[in-house]
């Protein structure tokens, strides 16, 4: 009975997977420094985004210190600076328009893969309303609604990337448990068999000498 429900949920899950769209972030492999640039069209736009280090094959927990992340504005000032992270969210109001630089720096030589998503939200405000007569106040409200939905979507992309990382940790734990336990059993058996053989040999030789 339980397996039947499990199969039904699995089937529903598979069907839903077909309709899922737009839960995805771009992945990039970082060997040393990788920079992603985005143009912000007008001052005051909200830049939001997140990134997660996906390829974190840690053997022992002190293996990789994480990546360094920084955001540079077109004027050259560093808006955001993080060292040794394995993923983070960020959101800021762009002080000016232009080209913004999002840089990831890998302190070690092993390449790491990250999944990132950057969204730039623009809401026309009353200043634009005064300039452009075709802009209806309802458009401002719709833009605000759209930005709120985009915020939810951004958060979902972050959650999905984190879920992928946790899943890989889980699967690695599962394989490790099975692998290491089976190896342990075999080693135990081999060690005890070797012990017995060794003791046999010891006593066979000495008995032989004694008899002589």
């Amino acid at each position: 009975m339980e397996s039947k429900w499990g199969k039904i949920w699995g089937l529903i899950g598979l069907l839903l997977l077909n309709f899922v769209n737009n839960v995805s972030s771009l992945s990039l492999t970082i060997t040393k420094v990788e920079c992603v640039y985005e143009i912000v069209r007008s001052e005051g736009d909200i830049v939001s985004g997140n990134f997660v280090v996906v390829d974190h094959h840690i053997f022992w927990s002190s293996d990789h210190p994480g990546l360094d992340f920084s955001i540079t504005s077109p004027g050259g000032d560093i808006l955001h600076n993080l060292k040794g992270t394995s993923g983070d969210k960020f959101s800021f109001k762009a002080p000016r328009s232009g080209l913004y630089q999002f840089c990831f720096h890998n302190p070690l030589s092993t390449p790491e893969t990250i999944a990132f998503y950057i969204h730039i939200g623009h809401i026309p405000n009353e200043h634009n309303l005064a300039k452009n007569e075709h802009l209806d106040p309802i458009n401002v409200k719709i833009a605000e609604l759209r930005e709120a939905l985009e915020a939810v979507t951004t958060e979902q992309k972050y959650l999905k990337s984190r879920d992928a990382v946790h899943r890989s940790t889980n699967e690695s734990t599962k394989t490790r448990v099975i692998g290491y336990t089976v190896g342990e059993y075999m080693l135990l058996t081999i060690a005890s068999v070797l012990q017995v053989i060794y003791i046999r040999r010891l006593f066979s030789k000495s008995v032989g000498y004694n008899r002589i």
Partner: protein, 219 residues
């Protein structure tokens, strides 16, 4: 601390390319990113996509050196290795496909060796999947929507996408919870079994050696 010697702000952006960029952007939600393509080697961007999802991407080379735009080569592959889009020596292009299999889709760019110049090539990539790639113009034409109605329809599409993504995240969480629980049960079982094996093996050892010594008339 982070040195990036290839600052594209030093490069000139001809007005034609800016106009082309703005023309390619569909609406105010243009989340196009710029990437540096190194002189040697490829730069690959990948994404984990499910099956039956529409993918739409545009790429434009932005950097200009010595009055001519640098050219790049593009290759897009599916998770099974099929080649979906392959162009050489181009400055702009677009590719669109519907994913057939779920997995990691890879888009690789490399600069053609024919271009002179010492710098790196900067490419503007506009990558849209799923609801962002939906063609709202045809929907507007078919159902005769315009203005506020069209915007509200777009919002409705976005809300549906959010709902489906939430259901997906929920199913993934359930899957992960069941994996964790089986791992937890396995750890407990295997440890008890290991203790059992230890006792059994040592018992066998003692029994075997006792038999051995009795046979050799030492005991």
């Amino acid at each position: 601390m982070i040195k990036d010697s290839n600052v594209p702000m030093a490069m000139t952006f001809p007005p034609l390319l800016v106009v082309l960029l703005l023309a390619l952007s569909t609406g105010p939600l243009c989340d196009a990113i710029w990437l540096n393509i190194p002189k040697t080697g490829t730069k690959c961007v990948s994404e984990e996509i499910h099956s039956n999802v529409v993918v739409l991407a545009d790429y434009v080379v932005v950097s200009v050196e010595d009055g001519q735009t640098a050219t790049i080569a593009v290759k897009v592959t599916s998770p099974y290795g099929n080649n979906l889009h392959h162009r050489e020596n181009v400055t702009y292009g677009r590719f669109a496909f519907t994913t057939e299999e779920a997995g990691n889709y890879l888009a690789c760019f490399w600069s053609d060796n024919r271009t002179r110049g010492s710098g790196e090539v900067v490419v503007n990539i506009d990558w849209k999947t799923g609801i962002a790639a939906k063609d709202w113009e045809s929907v507007a034409r078919k159902e005769k929507l315009q203005g506020v109605e069209l915007e509200l329809r777009k919002l409705e599409g976005a809300v549906e996408a959010i709902h489906e993504n939430l259901l997906y995240l929920k199913s993934r969480e359930a899957e992960m919870r069941s994996t964790s629980e089986t791992t937890n049960a396995r750890v407990a079982w295997f440890s008890i079994m290991s203790l059992g094996i230890c006792i059994v093996v040592s018992g066998l050892q003692v029994w075997y050696l006792k038999r051995f010594f009795q046979k050799k008339k030492l005991i």
